[in-house]
């Protein structure tokens, strides 16, 4: 059906038009976002001088990186358990806890985690204060769900006879996991890592609940500036974001295409 092509293009225009406007006006000299005066990069320079913003950026980066690693670690185990180990006691509870964070409204997750941290802090003395550590825990908790889904679908697609072959050739289960399974699901591990990284970098609501004084993440700083209205500085920041993601993704897509063609050329007989 031809019409779906046009609707698809219309949908893409809908998705990208606001971002395009954002990018264009980040180079506008004027503070007013709707009137174009002249080309300027002054908002970018101001961005670099904003210490609060830069601090928040580095904090977010740290949290996002460590969130991604922990989520992939837990997500891999969780996916392996779901796919390979069959039934076990408490499986329903386990799968519910893995799936539910995908759709759980952020305000609920944020509030409940804060109450947990406060409660535990009073009761056990841990965590003594809230900050990067509690944000990290919160981010891992909801990222694990996404990572688990990504890895689970990859594990399901994987030909289990490869593992059986390795086992048949004398590899222990642990060896099989590290030498066969892990390399085969590595694309899913990478996408899971990137997914957890962007989810963490993106989160405003949950971080707002569980962060403490002095630990503001980038979205929190952006939010406090955005609620006061449109600011060209935020446009500049958004442009950097969009630019990085766009370039990164296209490099990724392009290399995947190259890789696909390369491996297709190496294995004749397969289309």
């Amino acid at each position: 059906m031809k019409i779906t092509r046009y609707l698809l293009l219309a949908g893409l225009v809908f998705l990208y038009f606001p971002l395009l406007v954002l990018v264009i006006y980040s180079f506008n000299e004027s503070r007013l976002v709707t009137i174009w005066t002249e080309f300027s990069v002054k908002w970018y320079l101001e961005l670099l001088e904003d210490r609060q913003l830069m601090d928040a950026f580095f904090l977010s980066l740290q949290i996002a990186c460590s969130t991604a690693f922990m989520s992939v670690l837990l997500g891999t185990i969780a996916a392996y358990v779901l796919v390979k180990l069959g039934r076990f006691p408490g499986q329903t509870l386990f799968s519910s806890m893995i799936i539910a964070p995908l759709v759980m409204p952020e305000v609920i997750t944020g509030l409940s985690l804060l109450l947990l941290f406060v409660g535990l802090g009073n009761w056990l003395g841990w965590p003594a204060s809230r900050g990067a550590m509690t944000i990290w825990i919160a981010h891992v908790t909801f990222s694990v769900a996404f990572v688990t889904i990504v890895i689970t679908s990859r594990l399901r697609e994987m030909d289990s006879s490869l593992e059986e072959a390795a086992m048949d050739l004398g590899a222990t289960p642990l060896k099989v996991f590290f030498v066969i399974t892990l390399p085969l699901i590595s694309p899913a591990l990478i996408s899971g890592w990137l997914l957890a990284f962007t989810l963490s970098l993106d989160d405003l609501v949950i971080a707002s609940f569980v962060s403490g004084p002095g630990s503001s993440t980038l979205p929190m700083v952006i939010y406090s500036s955005v609620r006061l209205g449109v600011s060209p500085k935020i446009n500049a920041l958004a442009t950097i974001f969009v630019g990085l993601i766009l370039v990164g993704s296209f490099v990724f897509w392009w290399s995947m295409q190259r890789w696909a063609r390369y491996s297709a050329a190496k294995t004749p007989g397969q289309q």
Partner: protein, 296 residues
């Protein structure tokens, strides 16, 4: 067999403990605090029981829930959230389905390129993407500028701070979550079924209604859950695009917590929201497990 079980146990235990402590246990705390009373202290709530000299005293109350019932603000906020989320979900479906279908019918490498184009925006900041609409929808924003310069309207339209802006924001923000499961389902669809439909005399539109749509239904339902459930508790969209009188329960909870600093009432709001959502979440989980092909 004991050895195998022990091996299983040590593998399963880590994510299990993590999710138990940081995902399940907090609901216990929310439930507990919702029964407490707000007070000026740190933390700002009372105990719901006391234990002294071997005496157990129950101090909790359902006052917070009673309070939610008495003030129609909360009732309206819940109702509004469900309504806005439901309408936006349907709108989102209508935008997403043709897009997912269009991509699924493409040839490689264009298919993966267009899929990437659809997902890409969601990798940039959600906050920034919603913020982008402020400049467009404002009374003196770009859209109004455009409309007035082509003579479509004489006076600027009020688009920001309205239900319209909320619908737009939810559709815009959650579009990839609707497209992806539908796309995944359409990709699984055996193309010869569509050809068989044509072969037996069904016209394209009929083939769509009788074969493609029913067979991609589980993707549609999964997409609807993925949009509807989080949208009910959405905070950023009503905060940035909605008006001061836009009532959505996520925003009310936020204000209760951050502005009024009434943690017990915020907790009670969360508990009530959760009871609304527990059924859709349950069905979503079943669907997701089935899609993943994980045994139940």
């Amino acid at each position: 067999m004991k050895g195998v079980f022990a091996h299983k146990f040590w593998v399963v235990v880590w994510p299990y403990i993590w999710m138990l402590v940081f995902f399940a246990l907090p609901f216990g705390f929310i439930l507990k605090i919702s029964l407490a009373e707000s007070m000026i202290a740190m933390p700002p709530y009372s105990d719901i029981w006391s234990w002294s000299d071997g005496h157990f005293t129950w101090l909790g109350s359902f006052d917070n829930y009673r309070f939610l019932l008495e003030d129609d603000l909360y009732y309206l906020a819940y109702f509004n959230s469900l309504r806005l989320a439901a309408v936006s979900t349907v709108l989102c479906l209508f935008v997403a389905y043709p897009m997912a279908y269009g991509i699924s019918r493409m040839e490689e490498p264009y298919r993966s390129l267009f899929l990437l184009l659809v997902i890409l925006p969601s990798w940039t900041s959600f906050l920034i993407r919603i913020y982008a609409w402020i400049g467009l929808l404002k009374t003196n924003g770009l859209v109004n500028h455009f409309f007035m310069s082509v003579g479509l309207v004489d006076e600027p339209l009020t688009m920001l701070h309205s239900d319209f802006a909320i619908y737009l924001g939810i559709v815009y923000g959650y579009l990839p979550f609707m497209i992806l499961p539908i796309y995944a389902n359409l990709m699984k669809l055996d193309h010869s079924l569509i050809e068989a439909g044509y072969d037996l005399g069904a016209r394209p539109w009929k083939v769509f209604l009788t074969i493609i749509l029913p067979l991609s239904m589980s993707g549609v339902v999964a997409g609807c859950f993925l949009v509807f459930i989080p949208a009910v508790g959405e905070f950023i969209i009503p905060e940035l695009l909605g008006g001061p009188d836009t009532l959505m329960i996520g925003k009310v909870l936020w204000q209760e917590f951050f502005v009024n600093r009434d943690w017990p009432v915020a907790s009670a709001i969360a508990v009530v929201m959760l009871t609304f959502l527990i059924i859709p979440i349950y069905f979503y989980r079943r669907l997701e497990m089935k899609q993943l092909g994980v045994g139940e």
